[in-house]
Amino acid sequence: MMLDASTISLDGVRNSAKEMFDEGWRFVTQTVVDLGDEGFDILFHYDKDLAETHYRARVPKGTVVPSISGIYFAALLVENENRDLFGLEYDGLVLDFNRTLYLEESGDPMTAPFCKITTFINPNAKTEA
């Protein structure tokens, strides 16, 4: 069983979000699935009168993803969470925590308790070693 999700390209991310917003759909959340060498699946979940619609964008790792937080402000938190946990980069994020939504603003996040599963790469890690 696979989720019934319409496939969209990276260019279609904002267009689909705008269409959903104009049609009165409520933003539920985004889901990122790490596919290893194949990149990421980014799923966009919407709701209208309890009906669900899902979109799927498959992107290579390192791709800058268009943020939909300018259309759906509610996407602000989940996109920042995806920055923290998957290292995703977003273009146009209305408030960018720069990978510190869950992590401390200073210090080494890789040594923070409970945050060791993050994919955050400490830019100073090599020089410190």
Binding site: M1, M2, L3, V28, H45, F73, L77, Y102
Partner: protein, 358 residues
């Protein structure tokens, strides 16, 4: 006018949860609010890839203690759909009974904390005293007061005896009687209305645009409740979403109190209609595929995305909790509020940070 940035939380006398906001204020007026998460982030979604799909029940139950039963129910439903399991009807009714009792004690916990936030300590203690009755039912029927841990893949792990079903009917009738005078206080008292009416107003349109969920959404006039999707035994239970229309703290408060009565009524219906039969079917093999599943938690819509690849461990479990959805609406209602009203506004979304950060 001088601007100051005031940290609100994560430790604060009025907060039961480590909510953390950075408030920019001009004199006593909030002009901007920025959330700061991470205080209780535990990486539970990451843990999903390291635990088999049965073990994950124990993990999701610990996303949030207060609605642990509903997290497990949502996760089990997702796995059961992937495996094509048909859960016995009695198990579905038992899940409804335990999950609605969770909604009752969650709402009573919140109502007490809300009363405490504006200085009604006697009301707070009385509401929590009544809540103890529900906790006693949990303990008697499941062995635990908070994390009842009754859900398993394919059904439930234990039954409720006929004697105890009769006792629960008696208990919930007494709980209703004890709650009625408190509902009058909560909805009619001059001071409470002064602190809640017209505070933190979210218009119907804005609330929807900001992705609000649960009583926050219904308090702004949206008749949307995920239980309308008729999961578990809700297809055989009479139920209409509780809706209020003013979009303020008073409306959200009223929605939760009315939902407490509603959940007690749902428990009564479920007990009166529960069929006899098996408690569970045994799963064979491992789940394969992906699914999104939603249930109604006390704080609103709980969303699970589960992807499995035929192995023992899920490939991905994504959990979007209702408080996560209700933080953007909170950020929208804070600017313009007086600093003294911030605790009431923050509590009005019933924040659960343990859920939010996972």
């Amino acid at each position: 006018m001088t601007r100051s940035i005031i940290p609100f939380g994560p430790q604060h006398p009025v907060l039961p949860e480590p909510l953390h906001l950075k408030l920019t204020v001009e004199d006593e007026t909030v002009v901007e609010a920025i959330p700061a998460l991470g205080y209780v982030h535990r990486g539970l979604e990451g843990l999903a890839q390291r635990r088999d799909y049965h073990q994950m029940i124990y993990v999701v139950e610990r996303v949030c203690g207060i609605c642990s039963c509903i997290h497990a129910m949502c996760y089990c439903n997702a796995i059961e759909k992937l495996m094509g399991l048909e859960v016995p009807r009695r198990a579905k009714y038992l899940r409804v009974i335990w999950s609605e009792l969770h909604r009752v004690h969650s709402h009573l916990l919140w109502l007490g904390l809300f009363a405490d936030a504006f200085g009604f300590e006697s009301l707070f203690m009385n509401l929590w005293k009544i809540r103890e009755r529900v906790m006693d039912i949990n303990e008697a029927t499941a062995g635990n007061r908070v994390i009842v841990s009754t859900n398993i893949i394919g059904g439930v792990r234990r039954d409720i005896s006929e004697d105890w079903l009769k006792q629960i009917l008696k208990d919930i009738t007494e709980i209703e009687q004890q709650l009625k005078p408190m509902f009058d206080v909560m909805t009619n008292d001059y001071t409470i209305k002064k602190r809640t009416v017209g505070k933190g107003v979210l218009s119907k349109e804005l609330c929807h645009q900001l992705g609000a969920a649960g009583p926050t959404l219904r308090g702004s006039g949206w008749a949307q409740d995920v239980r309308q999707l008729k999961y578990e035994a809700f297809d055989e239970l009479d139920f209409e979403p509780v809706v209020e229309y003013d979009g303020d703290c008073y409306s959200r408060n009223k929605v939760r109190f009315r939902e407490t009565f509603q959940s007690l009524e749902i428990v009564r219906q479920a007990i009166n209609r529960i069929p006899s039969g098996e408690l569970a079917v045994k799963p064979k093999g491992n789940p394969d595929g992906e699914i999104a599943f939603r249930v109604e938690q006390p704080r609103g819509e709980l969303f699970y995305y589960v992807k499995c690849n035929g192995g023992k461990n899920p490939e991905r479990v994504r959990i979007r909790t209702p408080t996560f959805a209700n933080i953007p609406p909170l950020l929208a209602m804070l600017p313009g509020a007086q600093l003294a009203d911030v605790p009431v506004l923050a509590l009005s979304i019933d924040p659960c940070i343990s859920c939010t950060e996972r």
